[in-house]
Symmetry: C2
């Protein structure tokens, strides 16, 4: 009998219970033992739920689960940071295998929890933490055994991709698109992590650490979001026959790496432009395998639960990847040195526009002027982003009043 302790019975937790119920016979035959979710940690036992669940199994006391020696595996789908981290650590210390979908915890504590699991000869798996239903963590861990990974790129946040898709396809302003996605459940009430790029950054931190075999921290990844994009940007981007995506990018070369999260303007011919709505896409390049791309639903009850259950099967079948990916490759971060071409739009008063135009000409920033009517918008030569940051400083432009995206066309 395999006893599971489930922490959390929200969207994903409910999906896990549902799939396990539906496929019980098949899975029990596959792993050659009975499966039982013995206890579930919830905030409120009496809350009305989507599914029928034996109330005896619900508890508000984490220790009832962690200290239950009959429980073999903990599945953590709570969300949040400090509590889940503590629970996971305690569970590993008690000799339980742990699966989590919690990207915040994984991003913050990947190395510590991996090492702890290793020391306890248990598993710490987190397929659902990146790319929703896309199998990406495991394939990446497998590919790094045979490849030097040179590059990772991805649309890793469903919410921001949904917003950008709506803005482009339905000519909506940012606020309208955000409200639509909140109404449809694609964005949370507080969308900061999604639209400011922090969620993408966490996922890129996880992927790039596995890929490059060195600890790439969240702080090592420069981060720009989409919260200041407006309808005139969309108009300008369309006039360039392009579209815009929030991309995570990490490139390594000769022991140096560049890692960023930023809006990127891509051609309508780019495969990224075909990743619509809340879908995700991860691409990486290995020296032997070449480029691989993985596409799928970036979030949602069943895709995420599916990823959690693939970890569960790997643990029970003993087929998870054990390779210790951390080799301390000691890569140098060269974000400061990176030079790209950018699109910039600034809202300023009429008389400042001319001053800005003079500045970007004098400082060899501008490549093409796109518009100088409602706002000033231009593309740049190949420059370091610092040059744009300096411009923002000098003209004291508020973060709400400009939008920068890298050009990849």
């Amino acid at each position: 009998m395999l006893n599971i302790g489930l922490l959390g019975l929200g969207t994903v937790g409910t999906g896990i219970v549902q799939i396990l119920e539906e496929r019980k016979k098949y899975l029990e035959k596959l792993i050659k033992q009975e499966i039982s979710i013995s206890k579930i940690l919830v905030k409120d036992i009496d809350k009305k739920r989507d599914i029928e669940i034996d109330k005896e199994k619900l508890t508000t006391d984490i220790y009832e689960i962690i200290e239950d020696d009959n429980i073999d595996i903990i599945i953590e789908v709570l969300g949040g940071l400090d509590n889940p981290y503590y629970y996971i650590k305690e569970a590993l210390n008690k000799g339980k295998d742990v699966i989590t979908a919690n990207k915040a915890v994984v991003a913050k504590h990947l190395e510590e929890l991996t090492n702890l699991a290793k020391a306890k000869n248990k598993s710490f798996l987190y397929e659902a933490s990146v790319g929703g239903g896309i199998p990406i963590i495991k394939p990446l861990k497998e590919q790094v055994n045979i490849n030097q990974i040179q590059e990772i790129r991805g649309i890793l946040n469903g919410t921001s991709n949904y917003i950008l898709t709506k803005m482009i396809s339905e000519n909506l302003d940012f606020q309208e698109a955000l409200e639509t996605s909140q109404r449809l459940g694609y964005a949370e009430a507080n969308p900061t992590d999604d639209i400011e790029g922090y969620d993408t950054r966490r996922k890129l931190r996880i992927l790039s650490t596995i890929a490059f075999k060195d600890k790439i921290d969240e702080e090592d990844i420069s981060c720009y979001g989409i919260n200041s994009i407006n309808f005139s940007d969309i108009k300008n981007i369309k006039s360039m026959s392009c579209t815009v995506k929030l991309l995570g990018t990490a490139i390594v070369n000769d022991n140096k790496y560049y890692a960023s999260v930023e809006p990127v303007i891509v051609s309508q011919n780019s495969y990224f432009s075909k990743v619509d709505d809340a879908n995700n896409l991860v691409s990486f390049i290995g020296d032997n395998v070449g480029e691989l791309r993985f596409f799928g639903e970036g979030a949602g009850r069943f895709p995420t639960a599916n990823a959690v259950l693939s970890d569960l099967i790997d643990i029970t079948s003993n087929t998870y990847q054990r390779n210790c990916f951390l080799e301390n490759s000691e890569l140098d971060n060269i974000n400061e040195l990176y030079r790209g071409k950018y699109y910039m739009r600034i809202n300023v008063k009429e008389d400042t526009k001319d001053k800005i135009e003079k500045y970007i000409v004098d400082n060899e920033i501008i490549e093409d002027m796109i518009e100088k009517k409602d706002s000033i918008a231009f593309t740049t030569k190949l420059i370091s982003k610092k040059k744009l940051e300096k411009l923002i400083d000098i003209f004291m432009i508020d973060s709400k009043n400009y939008f920068v995206a890298r050009l990849e066309v």
Copy 2:
């Protein structure tokens, strides 16, 4: 010490030797034993080769390898059908694990070799047989544990995709594009299997059998190639703002399935249209995970060798998928009942054109006439393909003189 017997030292075999050499230290640390390719089966020991290799290891006698009890794993990368099949069977019978890249053998003998491996408690793995470097066999085997797969679609043959890409992008006729791809090594001297769809059919046979948990034979898959496509088709397809791809498709619904290999006309907005050159893409839909897409290089020395080595690591780490996928779901083939919209172009003499036009109007086949100058080309209503086959019969049109593609726009 892990002793490998390598059957074949062509393009892929050489790649395997090269990667194993280059990553020897890492891999030996990973699998915690020394790795040695102890013997290699070749046709000609004295042939000049790309790589330096100890001639002592080369043999022309398969029994020197199969009957060597020190050899644990056989990697078969010979190509061909009967000999490799016999070697693989003998190797499994002798209690060796087997890895193959040979799609012909896998397509013909998947069930028998899988069952034999199971009976011998050994592994029979074939990641490289579909999709070149793309990890697709293993992820699919994993996903079927948690999902009912409803649909598989893919660009599975690099050669035909390369030819179609060249015809579209460089306005080449079929023969020119074929010759270019032969010159560049993308097509073999005898390209029949690639351009007539048989290679795609083998791969779809393998994927759909795993996905649907029932034996889908090559003969169960209707098969149309691209060998009769010509420049006027390309012109017509472009005028529809579309492109054309050779797709394998298998759809299951309510214990009935449709499986085909055929040219499909897709919109330029379709993600299939972004799969250029010799690349492959596999998409499948599971009831929980939703749609997943996998993209990568469909062939080539290092991508294919990479896939073979991922199987090798799985065997040595004991992490391969053991799920016995065959459940004899007893699906019914309904290819005959399938109705689609098609594009058809026919080259006939001037006076026959009017007769064909009358026929396709009278029989409610035609939707739109595309051209009636150099040839007669039209799109159809939703019909069964039989109606087109009947037309071909009645007007006794030679297979060289017409081209049919399904419309997916």
